[in-house]
């Protein structure tokens, strides 16, 4: 029986090539965009190496000092993080590190710009880098302020060409560093891990950064479990009133909170309210956009189905006159819809593979390594099949219930 349906579906779809094409186009493009969007979302929020513990990490990325109509907001300073954020219960490990900034080196007269980040030793235990050579620096190197560096494969190639990088020295920002480890390139989307060169925080060219309340630092708080995020945030909030302000005339209070990656992005995208990220609103906006985006293909599909059904009214009449039941006819139509959905899905899958390769290779997002997420693909496929069936079932059922005589006459409007 099923093979009958399939054979018939194949013939029918081939007969009306234009409708078939439009349906396939719509489904595959929708799935393509869905794949790309979800790949990007996945890579932004999911715990992917080196950020393997992202789901139980909170970040302190944004604080604000306020007073007397003055405001200074931005990343916190080492002084604040070191003095007031250590020893929070449920935090297994904590790392303090700078943002990644462009640093120039001059190799053979040419300027090479690498993203340079200063970190403590704990950084390497919270993030899992893939070392292709050498190793990271540890507590003792940080304590000594040794001028050692871990560099990415890309930086190694830029600075040293084909030579082995470990053991070599290079100069950047007026300082000389010796390479002790090389790691695989990190995608730009791994916010805390991304860089080309990592050096100990103690190699910053003076000691005075240690005391600032605001500065260029972030902190990672590795919690023992995400369930304790609330406790951690509560403890953090409790400590804020005790911060000794360095310029009490200008700034009286400090505010801010440790955030998950999602909250960070929400805050970046749509701003904060009372210094708190509006995660709910952010997700709401994304969902709304997704729904709107899917609305068009959905309506299109329903339209197509109604048209196809109308077109086949005389055929339905004849078939019924020869004894086909309503179930048969609806089933036939649904099988066709499923075939279209699956085919469209397959095309969409191939297209998205190709498109993601394109994006990865284009260098638009540094070191991007987007993959198609099989889980999302199956959801998308399931959704399109479900919707194909839904959008076809009702019109099919209405039409199949037609009196054969009426149907032979051309159907009622």
């Amino acid at each position: 029986m099923l093979t009958n349906y399939l054979k018939l579906a194949y013939k029918v779809l081939l007969r009306r090539k234009f409708f078939t094409f439009v349906s396939l186009f719509g489904t595959s493009v929708t799935l393509l965009v869905l794949m790309i969007a979800s790949a990007m979302l996945d890579h932004t929020f999911a715990p992917l190496p080196p950020e393997v513990r992202l789901d139980r990490t909170l970040h302190v990325t944004y604080m604000a000092m306020r007073g007397e109509g003055n405001e200074w907001s931005g990343s916190p300073g080492y002084g604040f993080l070191d003095r007031y954020c250590r020893g929070i219960p449920h935090v297994e490990r904590m790392s303090v590190f700078t943002g990644a900034h462009g640093a120039s080196s001059f190799v053979g007269g040419e300027k090479v710009v690498s993203q340079l980040r200063h970190t403590d030793a704990e950084y390497w235990s919270i993030l899992d880098f893939d070392f292709v050579a050498g190793q990271a620096y540890g507590e003792s190197e940080v304590a000594d302020g040794s001028h050692v560096a871990v560099i990415s494969e890309a930086a190694a190639r830029n600075l040293f060409g084909d030579r082995a990088a470990v053991g070599q020295s290079f100069e950047t920002r007026g300082q000389t560093f010796r390479v002790i480890g090389v790691v695989r390139n990190v995608p730009r989307m791994r916010e805390t891990a991304f860089a080309d060169i990592w050096v100990p925080v103690t190699t910053l060219p003076s000691d005075v950064w240690k005391t600032g309340l605001m500065g260029d630092f972030n902190a990672m708080l590795l919690a023992d479990s995400p369930r304790n995020f609330r406790a951690i945030r509560a403890e953090f909030a409790a400590r804020l009133p005790h911060v000794v302000m360095t310029e009490p005339d200008r700034y009286k209070t400090m505010s801010g909170s440790p955030r998950t990656r999602l909250e960070d992005i929400a805050a970046d995208a749509i701003g904060t309210k009372d210094d708190m990220p509006q995660t709910g609103l952010f997700i709401g906006v994304l969902v709304l956009l997704a729904l709107l985006f899917m609305l068009l293909p959905a309506i299109n599909l329903v339209n197509m189905n109604i048209s196809r059904i109308f077109e086949r009214v005389p055929e339905i009449g004849v078939r019924k006159a020869f004894g086909a039941s309503t179930g048969h006819l609806v089933g036939q139509f649904i099988v066709e819809n499923i075939v279209l959905a699956v085919l469209g899905g397959a095309i969409g899958f191939l297209l998205s593979l190709w498109a993601l390769q394109l994006i990865n290779g284009s260098g638009l997002i540094t070191n991007a390594d987007f993959q198609v997420n099989p889980r999302i693909f199956l959801y998308g496929l399931g959704l399109s099949v479900f919707f194909g069936v839904l959008s076809g079932a009702y019109p099919a059922w209405r039409m199949a219930r037609l009196d054969p005589v009426e149907a032979l006459r051309g159907g009622h409007r």
Binding site: G102, A103, S104, D207, V208, N303, S307
Partner: protein, 411 residues
């Protein structure tokens, strides 16, 4: 005739409902895309206010414990002065000046004051030296620019943008007026020192530090003292104008010289032209992506529309044959098919316009002028209507192929 199409479309509204929704949503999608384009385009054509070519920015990282330490500030200022001298010494550097709000960078140093009417005015507050104007080639349109000695006057001279002058003083002459803030009770704010009074001495056309796509209007320049820690703090960034054709060797050389003067400080030198390119690319990329997506969706809608209209024509062969019998020419029948869908589209456009205009009416996105919304609506309409007509051409042609004799022969 249009009334006739309208009657047909309206009486068939149940069948046409979905198509209407499709066109409506497509219209709104296009409005969103064109809205962004219009916003960017409108801003692009406003005067930038400065010249970015052959300009470099120097970011300085000064390690310090506190900001309120006058001694530290004085020392930092002295170092900064030596840095400026070093910059001037470099053969490739034409002019250099400290400047906190460097173009195309994310950092902003702003001040806010409450005006008498209660509204807030936020403006870029940029202390700089008289040379700042030469580096950025700012356009003076009234009054004078900053002059040496300004940092020691008994008030703080300010050079403000035209839009800021208009906002503060309306049509009155801003030169000589003071910029006064009020508290939330409408009382003028008290000023602690007399030199803190902000008096306007000049007006420049504009300083759109955030680049061509942003709508930044309010900026003020005032004197940077390189010696008085009370009046000024040390600069954290500079802008330099270099000779055209300067190359990488200049960077290495200058950075070495700067580090020699201040070994504990960190320096970052960036070409403004490259920053601008990166900035433009960052802004245009999501727009391009969104536009491409919208394009695909509209294409899909168009194909669906052709299919639906095609099917519509085949269903109505008798009606079309009848009309030919009653005296319609082939073109009249084609025009009817196209006319009906255009009428439907216009209805959709009307609803869409009402919906879209809710955005400015409700005050959402208040920083965007109404002109942007109107342009978006007009542009989208100018795209959708011809597109719909194009979709109707093939079905319209099919309608003309209907043989009245056969169509009316109904066995």
């Amino acid at each position: 005739m249009i009334a006739h199409y309208l009657k047909l479309v309206w009486n068939r509204r149940r069948a046409n409902g979905l198509i209407l929704v499709e066109i409506l949503v497509s219209f709104l999608v296009l409005c969103a895309v064109f809205g962004v384009v219009a916003y960017y385009a409108m801003n692009w054509f406003r005067p930038l206010g400065f010249d970015y070519r052959n300009v470099w920015t120097l970011e300085v990282d000064i390690p310090q414990a506190t900001l309120d330490d006058r001694e530290q500030t004085a020392r930092a200022l002295a170092t900064s002065q030596r840095l400026l001298a070093t910059m001037h010494d470099d053969p490739q550097v034409e002019s250099a000046a400290p400047m906190p709000n460097t173009p195309y960078s994310g950092s902003m140093s702003r001040r806010g004051i409450r005006l008498k009417d209660g509204s807030m005015l936020q403006y870029l507050s940029s202390p700089t030296t008289p040379e700042g104007r030469d580096v950025l080639r700012l356009e003076l349109v009234a009054g004078r620019w900053l002059e040496p000695g300004d940092e020691a006057l008994e008030f703080t001279p300010h050079v403000i943008t035209q839009d800021m002058a208009r906002r503060l003083f309306g049509r009155e002459n801003p030169i000589g007026r003071t910029i006064d803030g009020f508290d939330d009770k409408g009382q003028p704010e008290t000023v602690r020192e007399s030199w803190q009074v902000r008096r306007v001495v000049g007006v420049i056309r504009n300083y759109r530090k955030s680049g061509e796509f942003a709508d930044m209007r309010y900026a003020a320049f005032h004197p940077q003292s390189m010696s008085d820690p009370v009046r000024s703090s040390e600069p954290w960034s500079y802008v330099l104008r270099v000779n055209p054709g300067t190359r990488a060797a200049f960077e290495e050389r200058l950075l070495k010289a700067l580090r020699a003067e201040a070994p504990e400080w960190t320096f970052g030198l960036r070409s403004l032209e490259l920053e601008r390119q990166r900035h433009i690319r960052d802004r245009l990329m999501p727009l391009a992506f969104g536009g491409t997506l919208a394009g695909f969706l509209i294409l899909m809608v168009g194909m669906g529309l052709v299919g639906v209209l095609w099917q519509n024509v085949t269903r109505r062969t008798q009606e079309l044959g009848l009309r030919r019998a009653l005296g319609a020419t082939a073109s009249a029948v084609r025009n009817q098919i196209i006319g009906e869908i255009v009428v439907l589209t216009v209805i959709a456009l009307f609803i869409g316009t009402v919906l879209f205009l809710q955005l400015p009416l409700l005050g959402v996105l208040s920083f965007v002028g109404v002109g942007v919304f109107v342009s978006a609506i007009v542009a989208s309409s100018l795209v959708i209507v011809p597109f719909v007509i194009a979709c109707g051409l093939y079905p319209g042609w099919l309608a003309t192929q209907v043989e009245p004799a056969q169509a009316l022969q109904y066995e």
